[in-house]
Symmetry: C2
Subunit: 154 residues, 2 copies
């Protein structure tokens, strides 16, 4: 199964969640609020610590369960960082886009790349692939971290 920032992919399976009901609990609201207040991707662990420091504690297991279900419902964007950890973020930009991530502080910038989209589609078509989706992530050091690096503090 493809991961990360994935575009649609024509007519994959079903689109309607159709799952069980979804109760609005204090924990779920806390996680949701935390995600809203964040601009960057967070791993479940990070979100957990964040909520702890913030007082709105939620058990780690629950944090995993909530984020996973939100991802299943498409309420958040999921991708994997370089360590293979799943990281989540409520996406500001609606629609398909990619990310420019800082490998040190995690800061993320959303970028659109129409050219890459068409390139991907073309390449796939040329090889006879169908139901195409793709992931594109750019890693680097953001301006701040680049400065730190230059100053020898990294």
């Amino acid at each position: 199964m493809p991961h990360g920032t994935t575009n649609d992919g024509s007519a994959i399976t079903e689109l309607a969640p159709a799952g069980k009901e979804q109760r609005v609990t204090k924990q779920r609201r806390a996680v949701s609020a935390a995600l809203d207040s964040l601009d960057d991707f967070v791993s479940t662990q990070e979100l957990y610590r964040l909520l702890q420091n913030q007082g709105t504690s939620v058990s780690l297991a629950t944090a995993y369960r909530i984020l996973q279900s939100m991802a299943d419902d498409g309420q958040v964007d999921v991708l994997r960082n370089g360590d293979g950890e799943a990281v989540y973020r409520r996406c500001a930009v609606t629609g398909h886009h990619h990310h420019l991530l800082c490998r040190n502080c995690g800061k993320a910038v959303e970028v659109e790349a129409p050219a890459v989209e068409t390139w991907a589609s073309r390449i796939a078509a040329e090889h006879g692939y169908t139901e195409v989706a793709h992931t594109v992530e750019i890693f680097g050091l953001c301006p701040e971290c680049s400065a730190l690096r230059a100053a020898g503090n990294l």
Copy 2:
């Protein structure tokens, strides 16, 4: 650290391996041979089991160490599957390139994308990011699997 199919990134650290010497051991040869006989990506665990069944057993820890060092030396291609596991493959194409993967059978096609490379560099530069690397993966159904899907066998 960025993962997967990564390009250089301007002037990152050193390019020359320059590492310590590399002894040619039985285990290393076994892993190398196994990779040569494979067309698809394998996780370290899979490769480990494969070597076990094949008699040329290598300890799991060693398998991890060997694959990791081969990846560091650029002898194999690394990327992460949807579960966040690192998967490796000996690459036919030398140099930087990306993959077009079948999400059903795992078949991979190597593709080059100079345009994407320059796009990534430009985007990163525009946002002040340095030491850039990127990952690009395209997922879809290969021709064979597309046919199966169409025939209702998938």
